[in-house]
């Protein structure tokens, strides 16, 4: 017989932790929280800059501080069992979960499942940037991890593709770490990033932001050597005779985020193929009863505060669902 738990939450980032706390507060007494990393906190651990929690805590916190507040509460509640280094390989429609840990494979069934699996970055491949495939091309989040977690400097001279917040934050981080950020290239007419970040991450350091531009080609054999930049019109078509090159050894790609919903899909949840999120009439619910999704897996949020809010709701909904079927 497969062991049965009331609620299993996949993902121990801000979404999973908030969902666990909320489910507990709404009466769920048996929660298993599965996190693949060796720490709780998810991507917040590498977001060492401040700007988190203004809405939820009315304070300006760094990413790890925001995570810490939830982590300590989660750990203090014995009804929430946290299993680290636990990687879910399978989720069925019947809410049976198979997960791996070093030295162990486990199968467990749940009354309800909350997927708090976050998101991944759009890659250079998805942005279809032409050229060669040398070393030195990084998704911005990977560059952030290299610096902030591993203490490694990804490059000396960088060009950043995309002016979303991650790209802007990385422009500042690289600059402070002694690398030269030569340009931020944005295909849209306006940056999607917060004004605060435009000012404090680019203008403070005199980093040029090229709006309505794109990288036409990446050059370099072993390592990136330069990029060709070209202006685009309203239909994103290249404007003739506007091309210029920027020498650099590094290209950071900050071209948006994609919800991670491979487990939901595996469980037979109806998906919106465009956004890679579950189709549902009601926030956090999916087409499979008892499988919920929250945080960035549900939709991409600008602020972690909204992830928290969304996930608190998911925890409550899961609690209500469990009560109803008991």
């Amino acid at each position: 017989m497969m062991k049965e738990r009331d609620l299993i939450i996949v993902g121990g980032g801000p979404a999973g932790m908030a969902a666990a706390l909320s489910a507990y507060e709404h009466g769920v007494q048996d929660i298993l929280l599965l996190e693949r990393d060796q720490f709780l906190g998810g991507i917040l651990n590498q977001c060492v800059h401040t700007g988190f929690g203004l809405n939820y805590f009315k304070e300006v916190l760094a990413g790890p501080e925001y995570a810490d507040r939830f982590m300590k509460r989660v750990i203090a509640i014995k009804e929430i069992e946290v299993s680290l280094k636990s990687f879910v390989i399978k989720l069925s429609q019947k809410k049976e979960i198979t997960f791996l840990k070093p030295g162990k494979i486990s199968e467990v069934k749940a009354k309800a499942v909350i997927l708090a699996t976050g998101c991944r970055e759009r890659t250079r491949e998805m942005a279809h940037i032409a050229g060669t495939r040398p070393a030195g091309i990084f998704p911005a989040g990977l560059a952030q991890k290299l610096i902030n977690i591993e203490g490694l400097i990804p490059g000396n001279e960088a060009v950043i593709v995309g002016s979303g917040d991650i790209g802007l934050i990385m422009a500042r981080r690289l600059t402070l770490e002694g690398s030269k950020v030569k340009a931020v290239i944005e295909i849209q007419k306006k940056s999607k990033g917060l004004q605060r970040n435009i000012v404090q991450c680019l203008e403070d350091f005199g980093i040029p932001l090229y709006l309505s531009h794109k990288i036409a080609r990446i050059h370099g054999a072993d390592r990136v050597s330069k990029v060709d930049v070209v202006q685009v019109d309203d239909n994103f078509k290249e404007v003739p005779n506007t091309s210029f090159s920027i020498g650099c050894d590094t290209v950071l790609i900050s071209a948006g985020l994609i919800p991670e919903n491979e487990l939901a899909e595996m469980a037979g949840v109806d998906m919106d193929r465009k956004t890679n999120t579950p189709l549902s009439k009601e926030q956090n619910k999916t087409s499979v009863d008892g499988i919920f999704v929250c945080g960035n897996a549900c939709q991409i949020y600008d602020l972690v505060d909204w992830v928290t809010k969304d996930s608190l709701l998911a925890g409550k909904q899961a609690a209500e669902y469990i009560k109803r079927i008991k």
């Binding site: 693949r36 280094k85 990687f87 390989i89 198979t98 791996l100 840990k101 070093p102 030295g103 162990k104 494979i105 991944r120 970055e121 890659t123 250079r124 491949e125 998805m126 279809h128 032409a130 050229g131 060669t132 495939r133 040398p134 070393a135 998704p139 989040g141 990977l142 991890k145 290299l146 610096i147 977690i149 591993e150 203490g151 490694l152 400097i153 990804p154 490059g155 000396n156 770490e177 080609r217 054999a221 072993d222 390592r223 050894d249 899909e265």
Partner: protein, 472 residues
């Protein structure tokens, strides 16, 4: 003094080395790149061709048909995954059906078995995503798929186990001939009685070093685009259009990793290092394959790359040079080189015998290699077993492709030194996030196992370092 030096550690060089390792000969492979299969072989599409689309009197055609048979046996012995998926060459009208008949006839002359022409009702059942305007196809059941780089790695490992020395990062710079050959390389001078030139794109440069001037390799670029594994079953067969003068056309390919692949283009280029992809290549591939399978969506593309076919005329060039005795050229091995590789190895072996090299069988030749374990291929029962034996199989590093720490470590023990070496052997970093999540973890494992600092880990050797320095 070596009996034989093989220049080039691609699938051809390693297949030859493995074949010759059956005999009491002192053999070495010299590879220019930092790892095996980093040249032409790494961009191969992995198709084991049945031999169709080759002229019945060509060396290519003969070696392809023979190779198709040999690959299966080799795959079994060396634990390489081979899958016979079959191929369909499609026709849109009566005129094209006539061409299918010609291809079938030529194939039969080469000895290809079980070919048949199938029509719309068959296609509707067996290949439902195919363009309904396709009225017929030539079904060739003996076509299959394999992982090109894993084939080269497994061949080289088995060759090494049987005594072949393998030197990587060992570019050959000059060749002198007196009574025997003196081969100058990045790692010093090797002397050898025989040279086998399997240097792929650079086979002409190597030949020239030995004074052979009539071989010219012209790179022909092929851009390939990989789709998300979710689309694994978009087709059940390899889908081919009718071949053109220069290539077999733009295909819908099944791969042994599961990701369907679309491509390649066929573009003559000058630069032997031009591995760039571009928008026109993508546009051309998309429009060509949409004609075959209309539901293919560019949104599903998760990776792309370009490879260069080492083209030298119409056919393979495999011969002992009359002007330079004991120098054997294995040049111009473009498609179907992967399929033909084991047959090329036998062919070369015969050339060596004819040339007077004495072959004595080794009594202790080890023909088998234990199959590499991949978690993604394991069912629950096997997972349980391998995880209980080695905890690290339960420690997932690459989440998109389900690769564990145990597999990464095994790849390093088997010779991986770089991020690409890990990728080709284990598939880690080749999924939809493209290493976004697992790069740092793999760097750490490489650093620990190879005992080198993190800032020296490279993508593929040379100046391809992942990072530039440690932070203070």
């Amino acid at each position: 003094m070596h009996d034989i030096i093989i220049i080039g550690g691609g699938v051809v060089g390693t297949a030859i080395a493995r074949e010759l390792s059956k005999y009491r000969l002192k053999i070495a492979i010299l590879e220019k790149e930092v790892e095996i299969a980093f040249g032409v072989s790494k961009s191969n599409s992995g198709i084991i061709h049945p031999g169709t689309q080759n002229k019945s009197n060509s060396l290519k055609g003969k070696l392809c048909v023979e190779g198709n048979k040999l690959v299966r046996k080799l795959a079994k012995k060396l634990g390489i995954d081979f899958k016979e998926v079959g191929q369909l060459i499609v026709a849109f009208n009566q005129e094209e059906i006539e061409r299918l008949k010609e291809i079938k006839k030529e194939g039969e002359l080469l000895g290809i078995k079980k070919m048949k022409i199938v029509f719309r009702p068959w296609l509707a059942v067996n290949e439902p995503n195919l363009n309904p305007e396709i009225i017929a196809a030539l079904l060739v059941p003996s076509a299959g798929i394999i992982s090109p780089y894993r084939m080269a790695y497994d061949l080289s490992e088995n060759a090494a186990k049987n005594g072949v020395e393998i030197y990587t990062d060992c570019e050959v710079t000059n060749i002198k001939k007196d009574k025997y050959f003196e081969i100058e390389s990045k790692l010093g001078v090797f002397s050898s009685r025989y040279i086998i030139n399997a240097a792929g794109l650079f086979a002409d440069d190597i030949a020239r070093m030995a004074g052979i001037k009539d071989i010219k390799i012209k790179p022909r670029k092929g851009q390939e685009f990989l789709l998300d594994k979710k689309k694994e079953n978009i087709t059940n067969h390899l889908i081919f259009p009718l071949p053109s003068q220069t290539s077999k056309g733009t295909l819908v390919i099944k791969t042994s990793d599961g990701n369907p692949m679309i491509g390649p283009t066929a573009e003559e280029v000058e630069d032997k290092y031009d591995l760039s992809t571009d928008e026109s290549g993508l546009a051309q591939v998309i429009s060509s394959v949409k004609r075959l399978v209309p539901s293919i969506n560019p949104k599903d593309i998760i990776a792309y790359f370009a490879g260069l076919r080492p083209v030298s005329g119409e056919d393979f060039i495999i011969r002992e040079e009359k002007s330079v005795k004991r120098f054997i050229n294995v040049a111009g091995i473009q498609s179907p080189g992967l399929t033909a590789a084991p047959a090329i190895a036998l062919y070369v072996s015969k050339l060596l015998k004819t040339s007077g090299l004495k072959f004595k069988r080794k009594l202790n030749f080890k023909p088998f290699r234990r199959k590499t374990i991949h978690l993604f291929q394991s069912d629950k029962k096997l997972m349980k077993k391998i995880i209980s034996k080695n905890k690290a199989f339960g420690d997932i590093v690459c989440r998109c492709e389900l690769v564990s720490r145990a597999e990464i470590e095994a790849a390093i023990e088997r010779g991986a030194k770089t991020m690409d070496g890990i990728k080709f052997r284990t598939r880690a970093q080749s999924g939809r996030c493209h290493g976004g999540f697992c790069t740092t973890r793999i760097m750490r494992i490489l650093s620990e196992k190879l005992n080198i600092p993190l800032n020296e880990i490279s993508k593929r050797g040379g100046k391809s370092g992942i990072v530039v320095k440690e932070r203070g």
